[in-house]
């Protein structure tokens, strides 16, 4: 083989090898300024502008015994372990506040008209090697800002079935990326393949009528026009329940749900 051929082969194989090295490439946005930080409401904030005056509120209760919190081993990443010296636990069914926390409640059917997606981003934060919030709600087309607040790397990997799947890395603290889901989809699981215990869910809706229950299990969906609606509650373990609710202008309707173990 000639020297030239040898060099060509060396270059061919060497390129991928060399490509494994090199400097860092900034894919995501630089660290946020104050405006960006302030612009990121946490769930269960609703979506865009609404025109109605009715609301639906209620409480999600849980009967039975919730499973013991799941103990999470974080030793695979010393920085995550250092952030949780007492250990990390996850309570998937969290009813400690008197009601069931982290239930998505949304209008599944009955909404007419179109609702423009807000331009204000919703924030999904990776902090303490966990996602905050656990259930995040956005309107289709609304920016989702993803931030790494940890001094360790994360990858963000939603696994939608309707929207476009993506997998991006945030190797440094305070990196931010903005993504948008175009189609309504409930729920989209999100995970970090580096830290398999990290799990979250994104709910994408094409209207602003949704909420996520607080620690006491309560929720409120505001700004509904008068009408007949199907309200659905979704929990990651306990799955779905639905109710039919009719509201008139200015009325405050109640829709309570009850899950059992």
């Amino acid at each position: 083989m000639s020297t030239r051929s040898s060099l060509a082969v060396l270059a061919l194989v060497g390129l991928p090898l060399l490509a494994c090295g090199g400097g860092a490439k900034e894919e995501a946005a630089p660290p946020p300024g104050p405006a960006a930080t302030a612009a990121a409401p946490a769930a269960p904030a609703g979506g865009g502008a609404t025109s109605g005056t009715a609301s639906i509120s209620g409480k999600i209760s849980f009967e039975g015994t919730a499973p013991a919190p799941e103990k999470i081993k974080t030793s695979a990443d010393p920085k995550c372990q250092a952030m949780h010296p007492q250990g990390l636990e996850r309570q998937t069914i969290d009813a400690t506040g008197g009601g069931l926390k982290d239930v998505l409640v949304y209008v599944k059917s009955g909404v007419s008209g179109t609702y423009a997606a807000p331009t204000e981003p919703v924030l999904l934060d990776q902090r303490g090697c966990m996602y905050h919030p656990h259930i995040i709600t956005v309107q289709a087309g609304q920016p989702l800002k993803i931030r790494n607040s940890d001094d360790t790397l994360h990858n963000i990997h939603p696994r939608p079935t309707v929207n476009q799947e993506f997998n991006i890395g945030q190797p440094r603290k305070d990196m931010e990326s903005t993504k948008t889901f175009d189609k309504a989809e409930v729920p989209i699981p999100v995970g970090c393949d580096v830290h398999p215990w990290m799990r979250s869910y994104i709910a994408v809706l094409n209207h602003p009528f949704f909420a996520v229950t607080k620690e006491d299990g309560t929720y409120e969906i505001k700004g509904l026009p008068a009408g007949d609606y199907e309200i659905e509650a979704w929990h990651e373990k306990l799955k779905t329940q639905s109710l039919k609710v009719t509201v008139k202008d200015g009325e405050k309707a109640k829709a309570d749900f009850s899950y059992k173990s």
Binding site: P16, C20, N155, G169, D193
Partner: protein
């Protein structure tokens, strides 16, 4: 003229005779061993669910060396060892091109290089396209193909190949049995790769029965693939047992040792497959199952090569010093 011609002829014979190159042979063996280690680490990547823990390729988080935490440890280690195997293959190909007299062996070395490059690209595609099943399966199968090519490269440069056999082997039925075993094992590995990458490893949750029956209801694709893999295991067992019987008849201790080791590996492999199901895909048995499968394929393929080679009687040149020409059989 005739004397001159005779001198040329003699010279040509010496120049064309393949030489035993101890270090090149050892380098080939080391490359094959590294490939088996790479298969194990690749298996770890899938078993630990770390395949997408590094979202970019060929860089890793835009870096040469990302923090080796969580799933990154497995995925980036796989990339580093893969780069090492690529480098070893490049060296082997260039070395073979410069030192090897047999054109076929030179072509085989270039083929190994082409396959390892294709394998690297497939690995990158699995990352970029988020583990599409066909690409992941192709990546798994091409790894086994590359392993076989490197084994062949190592063997055809061995003293055994060059010297053939001092005592002719009774090859009656041995070659067919060895080739059948190698083909059956390869097909079984393809089925295993499909099963693994469509997530059907636990589609049948019990063992040795399947849903409490000998034959499960074959109503879904994953159950069908999983059951085919179990049936494939039995076929492999029979094929390797047949090979062992034929190797005994051949009365060559080298072949008998290899056939015996293969049979033992198949028994181990079936146990690991059972452990994979019964531990609901615990990382260790699942990954060892992948690596042992590769070892069985490599062993069957080596057995095939040896069965084909050793059938030929040849002068005893086992004692020929390194670097000296060895008459070809």
């Amino acid at each position: 003229m005739s004397g001159r011609s005779g001198a040329v002829s003699s010279s040509t014979t010496l120049r064309d005779a393949p030489r035993f190159d101890r270090w090149r042979h050892r380098f080939g063996v080391a490359t094959a061993a590294s490939t088996l280690v790479l298969v194990f680490i690749g298996g770890l990547v899938t078993s630990t669910g770390s395949g997408l823990s590094v979202p970019d390729w060929p860089l890793s988080y835009g870096m040469l060396m990302p923090p080796m935490v969580g799933g990154v440890f497995y995925e980036h280690t796989h990339r580093m060892v893969a780069s090492l195997v690529g480098l070893l293959t490049l060296i082997l190909a260039v070395w073979t091109a410069r030192a090897e007299q047999r054109a076929g062996v030179r072509r085989l070395a270039w083929a190994a290089l082409a396959v390892v490059i294709a394998q690297g690209v497939l690995g990158g595609l699995t990352v970029i396209y988020l583990l599409p099943t066909p690409v992941s399966v192709a990546h798994a199968c091409l790894a086994q193909t590359f392993f076989c090519i490197v084994i062949a490269l190592a063997y055809v440069t061995s003293r055994e190949w060059l010297a053939a056999s001092a005592s002719p082997v009774d090859a009656s039925g041995l070659r067919g049995a060895a080739l059948t075993a190698a083909i059956v094992v390869y097909v079984q590995l393809v089925i295993g790769a499909v099963m693994r990458h469509i997530g059907a490893g636990l589609a049948i949750p019990d063992f040795p029965l399947a849903f409490g029956r000998l034959v499960p209801p074959l109503t879904s694709g994953p159950v069908l693939v999983h059951f085919a893999h179990r049936i494939g295991a039995l076929v492999v067992l029979v094929a390797v047992a047949r090979l062992l019987v034929r190797a005994r008849r051949a009365r060559d201790p080298r072949l008998l040792r290899l056939a015996g080791a293969l049979f033992g590996l198949v028994l181990l492999q079936i146990s690991l497959g059972a452990a994979t199901v019964l531990t609901t895909k615990a990382v260790t048995p699942t990954t060892l199952h992948v690596a042992t499968g590769a070892a069985i394929l490599g062993g069957s393929w080596l057995m095939t090569l040896r069965a084909f080679r050793l059938r030929r009687p040849a002068p005893d040149v086992a004692a020929a010093p390194a670097g000296q020409p060895v008459p070809q059989s």
